[in-house]
Symmetry: C2
Subunit: 343 residues, 2 copies
DNA sequence: GCTTCTTGTTTACGCGCGTAAAGAAGATTG
DNA sequence: CAATCTTCTTTACGCGCGTAAACAAGAAGC
């Protein structure tokens, strides 16, 4: 037997014998009423099925409990995982997460923010596209609505930024690769659409120089977010033209590495460490599939639990304080190396 | 210079010299006003920045323009792609897509529907978990709100269902495998959480029998959606104990196949066709990464453009008609074989 | 028992917009 | 040009809830 559905708070007040303003208080914050009345309300809620009309609530409330989550590319399993984590954390804090993907497009990113604006979110967690983002428009949005950036920074935009320390993480893997074999060449897209690509190149160059090697950049052509395919095509080309300057490749991210591994496999190049192996390949991000590549991919894991958790905590603090922070907070978390078979 | 922001329609009416009811008509449907007034409104819109308050709109409108999209697992690139396609199509039709993932949990699926209910969507596109779904609760939801199921059917739930013809698609690949080598064993999870697993097993058995072979089921243990890992562990076990009844494996889906390929690689088993290959592996779904496995995965592509497109079309038709259809429509689209290197 | 403080009730208004009805103004037809 | 139809304006009400103010009723302290 289903409980009877009640449509309005007025009606529920009559049925439960509690005044509507008290009910309103309860639904805003159950602890704001005396425990005895809270029990009465919850007893009534178990007899009748009632949920406040969300549109009426949000129309009148100065602040909604919506939190926007914008990621650059949801079809990328990395961002899918981060988004999932953020959704869960939001819900646990009593907020309503709204997940949007920019699908790699700056236009779409701006549209996402604009559609978020129309639902008046309490705050937004934004992983921007990066260099391709329309800085002006992001900034205009962040001035109006509390926004914490994560994964990729856009200078001076938003109230805070949390991401990975690419200098440290790339340094880590470069150091490992140099210590265990030939210094790595850096495989990347010349015009990468994804965040952090630039930073990783710089980090690579710096790490190589500091270890006394000269950087070897393999900046390949290719547009869009189809990284695996670009890795496959371009690495294939490099292998066939014998243009690889070394037997070790560090890829700007794991998705490129997946393509590179595929190209090597197709051409009979054994990837791995030690005897009988022609190539070492490493990546960055610890992509969910990195464990399943052939061979399993050596990479650097971002601490995205910390990034996601800290970003949300900071945003909730800003929302809770009711005021925008004076100073912009920035924190970079360290990556940790994940040694597998490919390098 | 940014256009001046206007908060209410009243205010915008005063500024633009158009009455509020006319503006209301315009925002509901720009073609419902005379072209000359439409021009005047749009001219004003370019001078002032105004978007109607979405909460006030939806509170009063009997029907919102929200369309819920619920997928079983968004971190699965297959569903991520389908969801992305649906989002785009929705937006193009002037609806507002709201994407939710059940994260593989039946509880979460019900929660998703419940939270959709609170935003009173015009309709919902639901890819259910399948056998694990709570049929009663899905049904109760579908009785209240126009809902089209896709990808996976739940008997008699919803107004329509569009999916793949597993019998046909599995038949296709079984026939191919039998024609070009040893008949395949079927690699699957004994307790698969994902949709269609059961149907594919039945389809496999039927196809094998009709070709005069006896089915060989490899139903492995494992819980949850971590398919690649289950494929990796269990296929590894089967290889090491020499328990494979044939040199050809058909996996229930590509994600399992990715794990199987990884297991084979780690044990030095050459996967592919022809001379010097010890194992053939095929999958199902044409997962976005199937192209990049080592070797590239032979699989069956679902026609999910058709599935997504038709599902939305049907839903919009139901919404447009204002009435629920008498009969439940069902259509299965055929898959097409994708020949690569693994089988 | 009283006073004081907390919590609940009653009453009332407003949020921004949908929408209905009646009449005025424009467009269209012959 | 008048007659008719279409579109717009004016006026008014309601949606379901947040919230404020004044007051009543419980709880707590002495």
């Amino acid at each position: 037997m289903q409980p009877q559905r009640v449509r309005t708070m007025e009606e529920f007040a009559a049925l439960s014998g509690i005044s509507r303003p008290t009910l309103s208080k309860y639904f805003n914050d159950p602890t704001s009423v005396r425990p005895s009345t809270r029990e009465r309300i919850e007893a009534a809620l178990s007899r009748y099925e009632y949920t406040p009309n969300i549109y009426a609530i949000n129309q009148n409330r100065q602040l909604t409990r919506n939190i926007g989550i914008v990621v650059p590319y949801l079809a990328d399993p990395f961002f899918a995982e981060v988004a999932r984590m953020l959704e869960r954390l939001c819900a646990k804090s009593g907020f309503n997460p709204i997940l949007l993907s920019s699908h790699g497009s700056a236009d779409r990113e701006v549209e996402n923010l604009s559609s978020l604006r129309s639902i008046r979110p309490a705050g937004v967690l934004l992983a921007p596209l990066g260099r391709r983002s329309r800085r002006e428009e992001l900034d205009a949005f962040c001035r109006d609505i509390p926004t914490v950036l994560f994964d990729c920074d856009v200078e001076d935009v938003g109230d805070a930024f949390f991401g990975s320390n690419n200098t440290q993480s790339i340094g880590l893997i470069v150091e490992y690769l140099c210590r265990t074999g030939e210094p790595p060449a850096f495989f990347e897209m010349a015009q990468a659409p994804n965040p952090n690509a630039q930073k990783r190149r710089v980090a690579y160059e710096r790490a190589m120089v500091s270890l006394g090697h000269s950087p070897m950049l393999l900046s390949v052509e290719g547009q869009g977010w189809d990284f695996e395919n670009i890795g496959l095509q371009e690495a294939g080309r490099l292998i066939e033209t014998r243009a690889l300057p070394t037997n070790t490749l560090l890829c700007s991210n794991d998705r490129l590495a997946i393509g590179v591994l595929s190209a090597a496999y197709e051409r009979g190049l054994r990837v791995g460490i030690g005897h009988g192996h022609a190539l070492r390949v490493a990546g960055h991000d610890d992509h969910p599939y990195a464990r399943y590549t052939c061979p399993a991919l050596t990479t650097v894991a971002q601490n995205y639990e910390a990034i996601a958790g800290t970003s949300l905590d900071r945003l909730l603090a800003i929302i809770g304080s009711g005021a925008r922070p004076g100073a912009r907070e920035t924190c970079l978390f360290e990556g940790s190396i994940v040694l597998r078979k490919s390098a």
